[in-house]
């Protein structure tokens, strides 16, 4: 290898932090087997202690120390040879911090670089979520649900080694499969993990994404002011009061003002779908939502502001009416449009839409609804080694997050 290779892991705060670290360490240790030198680090500005927030980890491998210096003392590389997305819903873009804007998942992927996604969705569907690039790149899919391995208690589901096993297939310049397997053997001393890596290497499929293919939307960005134009005293405008909602000739209700520089929806993996006909106007979802993401409609029902929703599922949990608020896999949606407006335009069509969404994609691993759901999903991945490993330790189920938004915080 004559050049530096950069790998990025985009992961979700808390429960994938150790996973991301393991992948990046594995890369550097494998490259070391071939005499190369590398660095593994997390993006320092991230705050991965927040449940579900998108965050980044990097591994950079260089032929020698002098080459590596070019990539050191930086928060992130300018471009990547491989970007690994360990939660397919982040294909819609990530927003890790206020003022960052919505960053496309493939933002850093260089021409003919690779985006690896762990997903059970077909590649065509993932490409639709990803923002377009002006140059071709490759998409590799590792069949898997998003790992919920955890932080303090690392519930090993082999996602780390499965991704490591796939890497030599999409980027042979980085390291050989033999080096990856040797590094896994050294690091974990577990033959089962070596087998998982080898199997993932075989399972991984790759296809080329053409220029302009994908989501054509231009992601929102913000320009940061300079010292002469910034307000002094480290002060910023607080969130102002909200305003009534207008729809047709109806005016009323209340839409709270929200932070325009941090929308937060990229944290979400599920979103509530609301059956307005069933709503008894009890106010509980509106009161309990930790992100104030409900607007009070002129009908005195509660409409989701999908730009502000983190998908925690509290609204579903507190709603006293059966099937009035239902959390649905984010994969079922392509925009953040108002559900209430759709309902007002055509109630019959809306009802059909709600039922279809619930039926189509009822489940998602981030935010389990019942104990053991994750194990069931892992088993469905059809990965013998992984399922075998989890089955061997049924007590571990206790440590998996249970309930909406479960995880370690």
């Amino acid at each position: 290898m004559a050049r530096t290779v950069s790998v990025e892991v985009v992961y979700r705060g808390i429960f994938q932090k150790t996973l991301a670290k393991n992948i990046c360490r594995g890369i550097v240790l494998a490259a070391r087997k071939e005499g190369k030198i590398g660095i593994a680090f997390g993006r320092y500005g991230d705050s991965p202690e927040r449940n579900g927030i998108p965050a980044k980890n990097f591994a950079i491998v260089a032929p020698n120390e002098e080459e590596l210096q070019l990539s050191m003392a930086q928060y992130e590389p300018e471009s990547t040879d491989v970007t690994i997305n360990v939660d397919d819903m982040m294909c819609k873009g990530v927003e890790s911090w206020a003022w960052y804007g919505l960053q496309p998942i493939n933002q850093k992927v260089r021409e003919n670089g690779t985006l690896i996604v762990t997903s059970t969705l077909p590649a065509e569907e993932l490409i639709k979520f990803c923002h377009t690039k002006p140059h071709p790149y490759r998409l590799a899919v590792i069949p898997a649900i998003p790992s919920f391995s955890g932080l303090w208690v690392y519930k090993d589901d082999h996602t780390d080694v499965r991704i490591l096993g796939a890497l030599p297939k999409v980027c042979p310049e980085l390291t050989s499969l033999d080096s990856i397997l040797a590094a896994i053997e050294d690091e974990w001393k577990d033959d089962l993990k070596v087998r998982s890596a080898r199997r993932a290497h075989e399972q991984t499929t790759t296809q080329t994404v053409k220029p302009g293919e994908g989501n054509p939307e231009v992601p929102y960005t913000f320009d940061m002011p300079g010292w002469t134009t910034m307000r002094e005293g480290v002060t910023i405008d607080a969130i102002r009061l909200g305003e009534p909602i207008k729809f047709g000739d109806q005016i009323g209700g209340y839409r709270p003002a929200r932070n325009p520089y941090f929308k937060k929806f990229s944290t979400r993996t599920m979103r509530p779908v609301i059956d307005f006909d069933k709503c008894i106007k009890c106010t509980l979802c509106w009161l309990q939502c930790p992100d104030s993401c409900f607007d009070v409609t002129p009908d005195q029902t509660y409409d989701l502001n999908a730009e502000a929703c983190c998908g925690c599922g509290v609204c579903e949990a507190v709603c006293p009416v059966d099937n009035c608020v239902t959390m649905v896999n984010e994969a079922a949606f392509t925009d953040n449009q108002s559900q209430w407006e759709a309902y007002k335009k055509d109630k019959v069509a809306y009802k059909a839409w709600v039922e279809a969404k619930i039926k189509e994609r009822p489940e998602r691993s981030h935010g389990f609804r019942y104990r053991g759901q994750y194990q069931e999903q892992v088993a469905k991945m059809g990965v013998a080694a992984t399922a075998e490993n989890l089955d061997a330790d049924p007590g571990g189920q206790e440590e998996m997050g249970v309930g909406a938004g479960g995880g370690e915080e």
């Binding site: 500005g45 940061m224 002011p225 010292w227 910034m230 002094e232 005293g233 480290v234 910023i236």
Partner: protein
């Protein structure tokens, strides 16, 4: 009251003499300046300020919120927050008490809170020592606090009023620490002219925080997490505020002179017999007293010696101090502080002066002295010794590079 009547009241008012210490003079100034919030936590020698304020309030002379905190950290935090909501505030401390408040002290400048604090300069314990040493205030020298050293109780009173005027100027909005030497200023009473309130009201406009005020009518968030995306811009803003302070200090002293009829000369440093001087000593605080005595004696004997007393240490008036010092054949700098392991093992002030002189075409030798640590008296013989060493440097054109410890037992 129309303008003429107001002028008549002002002219008719007169100063009154009071026998008070430097800290008590600061306390009187807080009364005259209508300070809204005073926060306190006892440590000697600063506590003389809080005691006198308590007395003024108890006697019904002063109307203010007086909050005794459970530590210096809280004391400075409370005063900081009071400033954020637009309340003129005063706090202060000494030695390690000031250090204990350091977290609050460090963040006050970036938040642009014009808090005024009195530092009763005290050695940093351990070992226990009540006496003056400037390392407490100087520990915060680089953070965006304005720092001023006074040498009389009168100057302590006047400077407190000036400090509010400068700090609360919209172009500045930076905190200001007024350093008063422990014991010599804080614990000895001298006659001080206390100006009438009408004069102070004319000099000092109310504190107007404008669009930065933390109030329900002006909803703002203060100090969010910013990381590397913003911090450099924020530092540059603080830097600009400190640059602006140089202009605002000049303006404030001009106005002070107009209304109070005293405080002439350069606000940033006092020159004593410098016009025809061949060599000068330079220092801060009350060591000016024995130095001035010796200079007068030596002048009687025909020696052309002078003294420069630095008042404003931040902002530092390098633009005028450099050309002034370049005129002399040698400069002896007396530090009542230390900077262990610094270039030439000097105190803080000596290396500031060396730095200022570097920009000059003619650079006189700088003799660096460390004297009077822990409140040890700077005696007449000690001053004579420093002048003698400075004179030798002038003669040879060379100074010993290493700093000279004066009055230390071998």
């Amino acid at each position: 009251m129309d303008a003429d009547a107001a002028t008549a009241v002002r002219v008719a008012a007169a100063e009154q003499e009071a026998l008070i210490s430097g800290s008590e003079a600061v306390a009187v100034a807080t009364k005259l300046a209508d300070v809204d919030v005073l926060t306190a936590y006892p440590i000697r020698p600063y506590d003389t300020l809080m005691q006198y304020v308590a007395k003024q309030i108890a006697n019904g002379e002063q109307d203010a919120e007086y909050i005794v905190a459970e530590s210096e950290h809280s004391q400075f935090e409370i005063a900081k927050h009071a400033e954020a909501v637009g309340a003129r505030s005063m706090c202060g401390s000494s030695g390690v008490g000031w250090c204990y408040a350091f977290e609050a002290i460090a963040v006050t400048p970036a938040l642009r809170l014009p808090l005024v604090a009195m530092v009763g300069n005290r050695a940093l314990d351990d070992p226990g020592a009540f006496g003056t040493e400037h390392n407490d205030a100087l520990a915060a020298r680089d953070l965006g606090w304005m720092h001023v050293w006074v040498d009389t109780a009168q100057e302590a009173l006047d400077t407190t009023l000036i400090a509010y005027r400068v700090a609360e100027d919209r172009r500045v909005f930076l905190p200001c620490a007024i350093s008063t030497d422990g014991a010599f200023l804080t614990h000895s009473q001298t006659l001080v002219k206390v100006p009438p309130k009408v004069w102070v009201d004319e000099f000092l406009p109310p504190y107007n925080r404008g669009d930065l005020v933390f109030h329900p009518d002006n909803p703002i968030t203060i100090a969010p997490q910013v990381n590397e995306d913003w911090l450099m811009e924020i530092r540059r803003q603080t830097d600009q505020a400190m640059r602006n302070a140089r202009i605002v200090i000049e303006e404030a002293y001009q106005n002070f002179r107009r209304i109070f009829g005293r405080g002439g000369g350069n606000p940033f440093f006092e020159e004593y017999h410098t016009d025809d001087a061949e060599i000068v000593l330079l220092g801060m605080g009350t060591l000016s007293m024995p130095v001035k005595v010796v200079i007068r004696k030596l002048r009687e004997q025909g020696h052309k010696v002078g003294f420069v007393r630095v008042r404003w240490f931040r902002p530092f008036d390098y633009e005028r101090l450099g050309p002034l010092l370049a005129r002399f054949a040698a400069v002896g700098v007396i530090d009542r502080d230390f900077s262990m392991g610094s270039p030439f093992n000097s105190g803080v002030l000596a290396n500031e002066i060396r730095s200022v002189l570097y920009a000059q075409d003619k650079r006189p030798p700088v003799v660096s002295f460390i004297a009077g640590l822990g409140g040890r008296e700077v005696t007449i013989p000690a001053v004579k010794e420093m002048i003698e060493q400075t004179r030798k440097a002038a003669e040879t054109g060379k100074a010993p590079l290493d700093t000279q410890w004066i009055g230390v037992r071998a």
